[in-house]
Symmetry: C2
Subunit: 200 residues, 2 copies
């Protein structure tokens, strides 16, 4: 029996299926959708892909994505350059910006230490962070990695490396999420909430 | 406050978000993933997009997607050209081919009649189907649209148009899905299963 799809459609489906979170069936559905788009729309999509990959690189200071030498946070004089918030990936920055509370700058590690996945400290942007702190003018480094095994391990590892510089190193508070229900909280969260309780 | 993302990344996210079933958050995640792909991989992805849209068109006989004049089913001499299975979209063909039982050919309507969505019969490939049947050599037309209001209405509409040609028109059987549980079957399915019961 012949192939189910015309070849270029199969190739496109495979390309979609390589994206994270998109299975073969969704990929086929997306490929069929592309057939219903105008040629102009498809060309624009393709151009956006190539253009983003070509023009966007990492900020020379904080390793966030940018199309310039420095990212919008590092080049903004209104941001407090003495406070660095260390995150796993650029999308974590969006989360902090949504709070509209944080006015410092960032440092993107581009991953977390995870021996099981073969990610060693030298594969992350840790030496770039040390160089920034070594350069002076930094008061506080906030370890804002996720509260997972890898996130904790990475935060502890970097904290140790930062000790000699005498800079203040903090970690995000962990506890009950706002709007969350006590009865649904897992033990670790409740333990942290109890441990970090404060006087009212 | 400045934009959260470098512009080309935002443009790419928007492009992903236009695809069906992909929200703004998934789109951003996909755009960030593209940043982690090699430039070569991204170029290949973009090429697959443009190439599929440019070279793939509809089969001049059955309206299925193909890169040639006729699709792989219409050009396959081993297929029974006297039986036409009428489906809503090309992806339905894949479903029938997976059964490995159907040996006839197809006809893709590219939609279903749906006044509420502004889809009228003349926007579907119905006249192409009538022309095929009018051309002769057709024994049976299987209406294989979905068992939905639109699918039923479209099947009934086309059946009426086919009557004058004296061709046999059939509809897929509806009943309990294999492996399904009686207690979870909805009333319409159970009603159909009862109505279409057969002697054992």
């Amino acid at each position: 029996m012949a192939d189910l799809n015309a070849l270029p459609l199969a190739v496109l489906s495979e390309q979609f299926a390589r994206l994270p979170g998109i299975g073969m069936k969704s990929a086929q559905r997306l490929a069929y959708h592309v057939m219903e788009m105008s040629e102009e729309e498809v060309n624009e999509f393709a151009k956006a892909l190539v253009n983003a990959r070509k023009t966007v690189h990492t900020c020379e200071v904080c390793q966030n994505f940018t199309e310039n030498e420095k990212c919008i946070f590092c080049s903004d004089p209104r941001r407090d350059g003495s406070t660095i918030c260390v995150v796993e990936s650029p999308k974590d920055i969006s989360a902090f910006e949504r709070t509209k509370e944080y006015k410092g700058v960032y440092h993107v590690l581009h991953g977390l230490i995870s021996p099981i996945d073969g990610v060693t400290p030298d594969m992350l942007k840790i030496k770039e962070l040390l160089a920034r702190v070594n350069g002076g003018g930094i008061n506080e480094v906030i370890m804002a990695t996720n509260p997972t095994v890898e996130g904790e391990a990475t935060a502890m590892y970097i904290t140790k490396l930062l000790r000699p510089f005498g800079v203040k190193v903090t970690r995000l508070a962990f506890g009950l999420p706002i709007g969350g229900m006590l009865e649904y909280a897992d033990e670790m969260t409740l333990f942290k909430a109890l441990e970090n309780r404060c006087e009212i």
